[in-house]
């Protein structure tokens, strides 16, 4: 009896400790929003932040779900893109940098879409930069400017900053979606996300 009592006492102490620490911490740090990586209504009251990786096949799928959500909530929703290149993906960082170079010429989203569609091309070439240049050419970007940007590595800091921000929010894989920079979406399904957005709008 005494033995069991000690066990319950220990468990009780641990539960109290967890609840004490949990109540003294709150996840209320604001998430940064860069205008060039926003899709939808920039003034929309609800926003989804997606931490994504161009080499991640699930991110490519989620992109279509997010597009469908924007069609359902054209006036109230905005999507914020954040880079979270995974270390297991060899070309994820240069791909993220290339998309940032395209954004200098106002084509982040066009490049983002094209990159997701042509990601397989990266595995078929010996020089991945040629693929990035090819996509830039297809979008009629200023090739010299794009090439200089990509080769200088000037966007590396921006990509790293996005990833570090993700880590602050405990992001460990892709895609991870946050609602209004706070609530973590536990599923990447259309119906679930739609329902959560509706709930958020009703609480406005």
């Amino acid at each position: 009896m005494r033995y069991l009592g000690v066990g319950f006492l220990l468990a009780g102490l641990l539960i109290s400790l967890v609840y004490f620490v949990r109540n003294s911490r709150e996840m209320n740090q604001p998430i940064s929003i860069e205008a060039h990586k926003v899709r939808g209504n920039p003034k929309g009251p609800v926003f989804l932040t997606v931490f994504s990786d161009f080499e991640c096949p699930f991110c490519a799928e989620v992109r279509h779900i997010l597009d469908d959500l924007l069609k359902v909530f054209p006036d109230t929703l905005k999507i914020v893109f954040k880079h979270f290149p995974l270390s297991i993906h060899e070309f994820a960082v240069p791909a993220a940098e290339a998309s940032e170079c395209a954004s200098d010429q106002g084509q982040f989203w066009a490049y983002h879409d094209l990159l997701f569609e042509r990601i397989e091309d990266l595995y078929k070439t010996k020089n991945v930069n040629n693929v990035f240049f090819g996509l830039a050419k297809e979008l009629k970007l200023n090739e010299t400017q794009f090439q200089q940007c990509l080769e200088s590595g000037v966007k590396k800091a921006l990509v790293t900053s996005d990833k570090n921000e993700g880590k602050k929010f405990f992001v460990s894989g892709t895609p991870t979606i946050l609602l209004n920079g706070k609530k973590v979406m536990t599923q990447n399904k259309f119906d679930y996300l739609k329902q959560e957005i509706e709930k958020s709008l009703n609480n406005e």
Partner: protein
Amino acid sequence: MNNKKEKIEILINMVGRFFIGAIFCYSGFSKLIQPIEFFEVSIHFYELVPDRFVHGIALIIPWIELIFGAYLLLGYWRKGSAGVLAGLTGIFQIVLAQALIRGLSIDECGCFGGGLVHLTLFQSFFLDTVLVLTLIRIATSDGELFSLDRLLKRG
């Protein structure tokens, strides 16, 4: 000679108990003090469990890790606690192995929540192998030092 060997074995088991107990306490605690959704997301990444079970699993696992980790650390119900944690770690290994085989897009195993320790799937699989073997050894051996069981005079 045998006596010396026995003492060394008890000492190794005690160190193993402290080390593994602390790992599980940290792992459970770091998950429990952050919003549950983060661990739910980690579970989703492994694409193994139906959605309706994810919340329940995310709710239970950290408590098992914390409570049995603390029991092991303090040497309370040593054999049982080591057995429970060995079973749990075995399940983790299966989950990690299938993720490695399928090449899932998971950068970090999510084993320690958003804590200070970040392990890749492979690192985590290796750690779990060491943990399972040590836990089995703790669960099947007799004799102990600095434990509540000894204090409470129960094996």
